[in-house]
Subunit: 164 residues, 2 copies
Amino acid sequence: MATAPTSKPTRPRRDKQAEAAEGVDIGTLDDSVGYHLRRAQLAVFDDFIRTLSPVDLRPAQFSVLTVIEHNPGLSQVQVCDALGIQRTNFVPLLDELEERGLARRERGQDRRSYALYLTDAGHDLMKRARRAYAGHERRINEMIGADGYDQIIRLLVKLADLHR
Amino acid sequence: MATAPTSKPTRPRRDKQAEAAEGVDIGTLDDSVGYHLRRAQLAVFDDFIRTLSPVDLRPAQFSVLTVIEHNPGLSQVQVCDALGIQRTNFVPLLDELEERGLARRERGQDRRSYALYLTDAGHDLMKRARRAYAGHERRINEMIGADGYDQIIRLLVKLADLHR
């Protein structure tokens, strides 16, 4: 703990699961933003996946469909850049959405790029997805309150700028 | 946006990379805690991995070594439970730490479980790792301030309790 500039040895342990694990001491991890980010992300994604299971959309698929819906005709590269998705991961993801009849590629003007659109089925699914998604956001809001909600998004956006 | 109870359509876009991606509208994602959690987690892990590259430790390896260091003799099951690691993912991770001579398994009293310890080389590496890690935490502190640091950990711990 002594080497971490932000460590506060007197602060009580905050990680309930670690406490539950038979008094295991997680040491400096209790003060680690990265450690707590990962645990929160797993819990939030788990809730998201359960909530969206009726429409069978994973978080990355939901993000891609949301961006295409808001920006019809966008190129694959633009979607990847906007979401920070690796291009090698994007192709199979989009293939699956196309196979399910939710999105379609259309040859672009320069014939080397594709413009992306939702199909009618894609628009319909996203309407259902947004209704389910509202429940997910509501549960998060209940956990941390409206102020906490604004606070955490503000702080997360700052952290995402690390190394840019 | 209309379906999300926490949406604030008048709030300016906060995601700088999305803005940079040629005015792409990320829609409801801008109000999504999950979306911003994931982006922040990737940025923080990226910084962690760069910082810890001299000692060649990934975040999960650092977490496991930290917990074993603070709790010598802990069983594999206890380490997994404390860190929320899947047991199938833990075995290859521990194998690698053992092959590198950083940790060792010792047959437990009931002969079915292993007690885990750091080797002397493991203790030495963790000393170096903690010095590097202090720089990582300092950079995060500079991004969000000491108050932001306490706030975000408090909020992340709450979110990690979703679905428990």
